[in-house]
Amino acid sequence: MKAIIAATVLGVILMFAGLFVKEKKSVASLAVFLLFVLLGVNIWDLVTTAPNETLSFFNNMLRVDRYALWFNTLMTGCTLLYALLVSKEIQRVGSHVAEYFALICFILCGVYMLSTYNNVLILFIGIEILSIPQYILAGSDKRNLKSSEASLKYFLMGAFSTGILLMGITLLYGATGTFNIIQYTFLQSDMLSPMALAGILFLMVAFAFKVSAAPMHMWTPDVYDGAPTPFTAFMATIVKASAFVAFMRLFSVSFGAISSDWMMVLAIITAATLFVGNITAVFQQSVKRMLAYSSIAQAGFMLFAVLAVNATAWQGMMIYAVAYSVATIGMFAVLMKMKDYTYDGFNGLAKKDPMLAAFTTVFLLSLAGIPLTGGFMAKYFVLLAAVEQGKMMWLVIFALFMAAVSAYYYFRVIMAMYFKQGNAELNTEVSATDRFLLAITVLLVIVLGAAPNLILNI
């Protein structure tokens, strides 16, 4: 609760800073400072809550537990890392730097709502607070036609999917007469009315859209490709992870008892997501577009956590959210330094800047899920959850096969950097601060891979 208030207030402060602080650089520094404050508020929230304590706010509108607080803290940490890494690029997008950071603060407010909601009204407003700033950020580069196209496309599709979400909420309300997600717990399947089932289906489709699962993924490549790269990095990581946590919260808390009724539909969505994401990523020529498809593929793995309704799944979601966010933010931070976003643009980077190439390699290995990186542990935990649940073994085997396919397109970048001749041109000089921050990101990826318990035992 404290974090929601803090995020809003800090967003308003940043808005006013845009009025009084003219220098772009000082606005960015202020934003980074305020994100530090926000992280502090989150940690304060975390340490003042006992391990098994569950707090309710405003007539059970929010139910705050340790898991949600820890997730919020980690996501704020990732946002801070993101802001530090890309603040220079954000300043180059346009002239409204303060507003961009204010919108990021508001998105964080939505993230906190989505991890703690106990009422579908809060879920709906949270999803909207998460989405509307994204539509704006996607279209913030007004000199670029592709950015405007991305914004409009995202807005239209997003508004449509929100309509479906509302329809699902309405049907569930009609079937149960409540908005409270705990009271949705249907104990026996034969008590389930078709109206409730239709509502669950609508909600699943709306969530699948928000997390860009196939066949509702069509917007993802165009939006991620068209949006300014710094904001793509944010959309593909923190926002996506929190949409997943909201998805999981509703489907395990409310519909967990009747998982056999919706599991098959979600399993097919998962299989389609893994297939479409990985196979299409193979054919991309631009690394940015490849990362967009790879984010669809990674969403396929995260769907396993939603599918397997058990304790390991919650752990898997936490580590997947963090490992995927950190590695992707790092990868996008490197990508922003490149002049040419195609694979050829990476040719010979290892000779020109061995350090940057090594960092990129670690990020890509993590995304591919190679042992000793965070990505491996993340994939391990979500698949472990599915194996423990035991109903979807065919899907686990399919996912392993798809993970092997994904190695191809990630390694293609590594091949280009190390084995191809070329002169990889950098957009800007990589400063010592950038190198230091990237080194920290690499360290985080490796620490997550070596000691995942650091973030799981909380």
């Binding site: 929601i4 009204l121 909207e128 607070i129 700033p133 913030s140 007004k142 009315s193």
Partner: protein, 167 residues
């Protein structure tokens, strides 16, 4: 059949036929006018349910503000047969099939659900006084927090609408 039933059936027929008019009429301006009529019919339903506030808001916001905006956009864009996008036959068939499936699901849901009639004892539930009370007690958090949503939408209007300085 009392006055209640008569007005209910009248409004229902009006809402459904106007809704059909929205999607069947060729001229977009006609579509918008049909949509306004649909909103009025639905507002009539709200009044029958004793939700006066909702009915008035529906007319002011939807039939009034949003539809005027719609009309302006359509008139400014000057839509005619030449600008109509080419429709793919395959997409049409796929749309018909998936839409039909959805209709089937919702019909099945409606058929088996138990319809509870309007609770006549609490007929003042839709009045503005009770609405305000619920909004500021039970639903105060969603109500207040939607201000963040509007604030970000306003920022968006400024960021997107303001002219970018040439660098």
């Amino acid at each position: 059949m009392g006055i209640y039933e008569i007005s209910f059936w009248f409004l229902t027929v009006m809402a459904l036929s106007c809704a059909l008019g929205v999607i069947l009429s060729r001229n977009p301006v006609n579509s918008v006018l049909f949509l306004i009529a649909t909103f009025f019919a639905i507002s009539g339903h709200y009044i029958l349910l004793n939700a006066q506030f909702l009915a008035i808001v529906n007319i002011i916001v939807y039939a009034g503000a949003i539809m005027v905006l719609f009309l302006f956009v359509i008139m400014l864009m000057n839509l005619n047969a030449d600008t109509e996008p080419q429709k793919n036959r395959l997409v049409q068939i796929a749309g018909a099939i998936s839409g039909g499936t959805l209709l089937l699901v919702i019909l099945a849901a409606l058929r088996t659900s138990t319809i509870t009639s309007l609770d006549q004892t609490s007929t003042d539930i839709g009045l503005i006084k009770n609405l305000g009370k619920t909004l500021f007690t039970q639903f105060v958090l969603p109500f207040e927090i939607s201000s963040v949503l509007f604030l970000s939408a306003m920022i968006g209007a400024v960021v997107i609408g303001k002219k970018e300085q040439t660098v």
